[in-house]
Amino acid sequence: MTEQERIQKQRSERAKDSTVDVPVDATKGDQLKAELDDLLDEIDEVLEENAEEFVRNYVQKGGE
C-alpha cells in the first residue's frame, strides 16, 4: 500500500467509525505537517555537515 493509499484508508475508516465530524482543514493540516516532517528528515540527511564552514567558503566573483 502506498503512503497515499494508507492515509486515504485511515481517513475513510476514521470517517466511518467516528460520530464527530473531523474538520477537513485539520486533517489536511496534519497531513501537511507529516509531509513536512518527512521532508525535513530528508534534508537533515543531505545537508552539508559543517554548515558554518560551507557557508563561509562559498565565495564567488561577481559576474555578468
Binding site: L39, L40, I43, A51, G62, E64
Partner: protein, 495 residues
Amino acid sequence: MAIAKVLGIETEYGITGGPDVDPITSSSIVVNAYAQQGRTRINWDFQGETPDLDARGLAGLTSFAPVVETHLANTVLTNGARLYVDHAHPEYSSPECRTPQEGTLYDVAGEEVMRRALTVANESLDPTQSITLYKNNSDGKGNSYGTHENYLVARDVEFSAIVRAMVPHFVSRQVIVGAGKVGAETDHGLDAHPFFQLSQRAEFFEEVVGLETTLKRPIINTRDEPHCDAERFRRLHVIIGDANMSQYATLVKLGSTALLLALLEDEGAQAFPSPPRHPVRAVRAYSLDTTLRAVEICEDDQWRSAWDFQDELWTMAARYIDQRGGDAVGSPDEVGLILEQWREMLDGVRDDHDAVADRVDWVAKLRIVKGIQDRYDLADDDAKLRAIDLQYHDIRPQRSLAQRVGLRTLREDEDIREAVHNAPTTTRAYFRGQCVARYPEQIVAANWDSVVFDLGQGPLQRVPMMDPLRGTAALTEDLLKVSPTADDLLEALDR
C-alpha cells in the same frame, strides 16, 4: 501586430572547488569537459558582438561596457546553445526558443548540460578537488552573478515605451518568481535586517535604466545588441531575474514577460499601470517583505504593493488574450496554461502558501528554512539556514534540496535529454544546431546570427542568419537532408 516573442535565458552558475580553487580555471575545466565529450570543439565567433551599444542611442557616457574575454573556453552545442566561461562562471545561454514552454525546456536542459559537464570534469580531478555548481545568483557576501532573459521586440517600439511599460512588472514579478534568500548582503539590505527575502537579486539593483550589468545594475538594461536585423528587431536583455529551480516559475517568468511585451507592441505603454515613483526603492522594499503588504507610491499618486501590480498586470494580460489571442507568445493552450499558473501562483502567495510550495521557489525555500529553524530552535542568523539557501540550488542530484521539496515538473526526463542534444525546430537555432551536428569538421565558428564554414579551399564562408524566425526545420530541413557535406549545403544555399 505583436511579433513572435523569440526568447531565451542565459545563466551563470556559481562554482566552487577545482585544482587551484581559481573559479576561472574551474569554469574552463567544466566547459572543456563537456566540449571534449562532444564530437568537436567549435569556437564562438565574436563578430557582431557589440555589448557597448546603448538602446537609448547615446554613448554610455557614465557607463563601462562589459569587456569581452575572447581567450576563455567557449563552445556551441548541437542544441543551438552556447556554453562558455563568462568572467569567473560557467554560463549556459539557451538557444532561441519560440515559446515560454520551450524556453523553460531549454533552461532545464542547460541544468542537465552542466550536470553532465560536472560529472565528466570531476572524473578527471582528485576527489578533494571536486567542483560543484549552483544555479543561484549570489554568494551571500555581496557578490552577484546573473540570470538574464532575452526577448525579441519590434524595433518600432520606442525604448522609452519599454521602460514606461515594463518597470512595474520587473519590480513586482518577484512575488511569484523570486528564488528567495536568507538574510541580506548589501549595505542597505543589511540595514533592514531581513530574515528572508523574496529575491536573490533585488537588493543588487541601483538604477532604473542603464547599460551596466555588473556595477550600478539597472532594472531595465539598455544593451542594444540585437544579434539579428537591427532595422526590424530589438533584443530586450532583462538582467533583473533570479535563477529558478521551479520549472513552473521559469514558465511564468518567461510567459508573463512575453505576454506583456506583446501587449506593449499592440496597445502601447499607456495600457500599463503607472510605475512606482522610486522603482529602485520599490524593488528592494518589495523583496524585503514576505507578507506582501509593503506599498509604494506610484506616479498616479496611488499606492501599490507588488501583489497589486501583478494583479493588475494579470488582468490586463487576460483581457489581451481574450481580445486578441496570444499568438505572438504561444498556442491557445500554452497561453491558457501561463495565465492559469500566473493566477494560481499569485493567489497562493497571498492566501495559501501550501498550495504553491510546489511551484514558487521562495515559498518552497522558506518552508524548509522555517521548518529546520523550528525543529532545532535556531537563531535567525544560524549558518544552517544559509546552508539550506545555498544547497537549494546545488545541481547535483545527491545534494540538491530543490529536487527534494516536491516541485512540479513541466516536462518528462526524456524531453529534457532530447533537448540536451537537439535544437528547437522553430527558430534559427535549428540551423545552427544541425550544422554543428552534421558538419563539425567544416565549421570554424558560429554565433547567434551566423555560422562560418571552412571548406578547406578558398575563403571562409559565413552564412548569415539575421532573422531569428528563419533557419527553422520547416525552412531548412529538406536542404540539410540532401546535403551530406558542408560543400553540398553551401552550394545549395547559393542556388
